[in-house]
Symmetry: C2
Subunit: 435 residues, 2 copies
């Protein structure tokens, strides 16, 4: 392994062999590559790109840098893993986990804590009193076998090379490389061992991928990588130009998840839940057509099975299952309604970043890895894009530990995050592309 010669291959626009990428990642894990070389290599990859073959080989190399789970035949039913690239108000893992378990799908879900503008699934779950996510893989797998679903915090045992590369990408302006994003995500999915992987690639102002072309490229590449590595793959590119649903903030999103699991909730969250869950049922071969899949899933939401499964999940991980009947047990700050819009109209857009940053500033998110968060802080939208609103109607409600800050933010968000139109606005398309 001669690191400079390895880097130079990409400078000269060459294609790496799988062996070369394996050797590089192995040398990285043995601390034989200088940080300056890792930085230079990441930049070369960002600017010169990678072929699908290279990205698949890098994914394999990173997945093989730590423990690899093999879930095939280890569960009494089909196994799937759903992953979202993250967006504002994206609480779908909280809903899909129990719903799919109720439909007979086995899921070991490893999630991250929030950093940056989007919340993390783990933070959301930890807003449930007693809920524990830092569990061993074996404990989580036992739970999956028992109740069909377990959601744990991402462990350093899986794909540790990705952690090493990510720490350097984060400080070298090399995060935005599609092959690096794809192999980072996929290396963890491959190491986690599910034979079926369904991806929700968010796209828009509130997502990591801002452009539709970028999101499509990422989705397509991840599907190709997964297929090359023998997985059943499916990816949807979905709209993230407004927050998903009405709730943004950890405990508020758990409440909204409970609403959807109880057969209600905002139409966009419910619809995307059905879209993604149906893909999982189809891709695992559990049902043969999308109509039947949606029918079965709707029934599980309507008859309380999905909600009870959420109760099982909470109970299994140490939380208070009573919150599914009484979400007020989550606690909450007092509601501060925004003063109301000056004139009526139709909601044209709601900027997800403005909402997300406000939540973070109220203590609901982290700037650094070890920041503590206020899980009760958040924003509830009283209208979504396409809704008709009247003059004087309050457009959002803020939940904040400090009342003065909350009052100020409520007014500010109403003025800056919402744009109204004089004419009717169509509801945005949720699913932009399928791979």
């Amino acid at each position: 392994m001669h690191p400079a010669a390895f880097i130079d291959i990409k400078v000269k626009q060459g294609e790496y062999t799988p062996q070369q990428l394996d050797d590089f990642i192995a040398a990285l894990m043995r601390d034989e590559i200088d940080d300056c070389q890792v930085g230079a290599w990441l930049m070369a990859v960002l600017l010169q790109g990678m072929t699908i073959k290279e990205a698949a080989a890098l994914t394999t190399a990173m997945a093989s840098s730590g423990k690899r789970l093999n879930l095939d035949n280890s569960m009494p039913g089909p196994i799937a893993d759903k992953h979202s690239s993250g967006g504002v108000g994206d609480k779908l893992t909280l809903i899909l986990g129990p719903l799919l378990a109720a439909a007979g799908i086995y899921q070991l879900k490893l999630s991250g804590r929030g950093l940056g503008h989007t919340g993390g699934t783990i933070d959301k779950l930890e807003s449930i009193p007693g809920f524990k996510c830092d569990l061993s893989i074996d404990t989580l797998l036992d739970q999956v076998r028992r109740i069909g679903v377990a959601i744990g915090a991402q462990t350093k045992d899986l794909a540790p090379a990705d952690g090493k590369l990510y720490a350097i990408r984060d400080v070298t302006a090399t995060v935005e490389s599609i092959p690096l994003i794809a192999s980072s995500i996929m290396s963890k999915k491959i190491a986690a061992g599910a034979p079926t992987i369904v991806l929700d690639v968010k796209c828009g102002t509130g997502a990591f991928m801002k452009t539709e072309s970028g999101a499509k490229e990422l989705a397509s590449l991840m599907v190709e990588i997964g297929k090359a590595l023998g997985r059943n793959m499916r990816a949807l590119v979905t709209n993230m130009n407004q927050p998903l649903g009405r709730a943004v903030g950890n405990a508020l999103e758990v409440r909204e998840a409970i609403e959807v699991l109880n057969g209600g909730g905002p139409p966009d969250v419910r619809e995307l839940t059905l879209e993604l869950a149906a893909e999982v049922l189809l891709t695992t071969g559990t049902v043969s057509d999308v109509g039947k899949a949606r029918e079965q899933l709707s029934a599980l939401l309507a008859n309380g099975s999905a909600l009870q499964k959420f109760g099982d999940l909470i109970e299994a991980q140490g939380g208070n299952r009573k919150i599914i009947e009484n979400p007020n047990l989550l606690g909450g700050h007092s509601a501060i309604k925004s003063p109301g819009c000056t004139k009526g109209g139709w909601v044209k857009s709601i900027d997800p970043m403005t909402i997300a940053i406000a939540c973070k500033n109220m203590g609901g998110g982290r700037s650094r890895k070890d920041d503590l968060i206020d899980s009760l802080a958040g924003v509830e939208l009283n209208a979504q894009v396409g809704d008709r609103v009247e003059a004087g109607q309050s457009l959002l409600t803020v939940y904040c530990a400090e009342e003065a800050q909350g009052v100020q933010l409520a007014q500010q968000l109403e003025n800056t995050a919402f744009i109204l139109s004089d004419r009717p606005i169509e509801r945005p398309i949720l699913v932009l592309e399928r791979f």
Copy 2:
């Protein structure tokens, strides 16, 4: 200073302001930039390029990272600095220093030790018994004032930021960036303070710059940078497709330099000496036309003034000046002639890299910074490109500490480094372009 944001400007093909580059180099010198960030930034510059403005600003920032000499008005006559980008058999600094001093030009010359395939001026001078190059800047400047010329080893006090960046470029496959090469060279020249700078940019198989287009781009950029920073600039792009002169190896090159300073020597070395020295006289405004310049310089070579000045230089830096009359005082290994070519013809090419690598393998060069070298090892060419040779004529002579190795190399080089032609071959053009 936010390093990732700084790097991202180049990722996005933006242009840095001088202030941004100043801040970056200042932060680098305070050890506030992680190595991974330096590596990523260098790669971004390699792949995205830099404008002339940026390269000039980077040069200034690096020149200002340490001590800056201001030679203007500090000497009793015009001051100049000649720099070569390095090639096989390039002993011109040893000749130009004394010759120009004899012509009334004051020169403080800071040179490097050899690393890689080309020898360093310092190594060549240190083959003279007693010659010292590790002298303080003040000592060197005193000597320049007294005898017109001093040649010292590059000090870490000048442009230390360049040293820091170079150490990382060397291991990250980012050496070959023309703006980085140009600002690296020019930062040291600017810090060294000469108002007139004449550059010899070597081009060809034996040079760092292999292609004419690359060499021209580098030469032109360095001239632009120097002009932007208020220097009188001149650059020649010169041929390095065969070794310069007949001698390759430290002590052998000192002998050849003495020949030229004594009015003789191989025609190509003599001609390039006159070309470059004339440029210095013209650019400093010492003479008004090239004819007069060459006439004056030829006289200084013919009448012994240049050679005596070399004696003064040797004496001033602790060496034995008698070598100028008796070069055998340099010592030497016994001469091993190559067996002779199988048939006659005209020399079409002599590969400089093959010759250089053989010299290095005999101990004449370094693989690592602290390798000791055998200054007596080397190769003497008995013919140059364009010369007629007869069957059986020995094409080269090897000087090697180990006779068996020398015999083997002599035969091998005769077979591999030389290509003969059945038809007459023109002598190569020495100066390919002038800026």
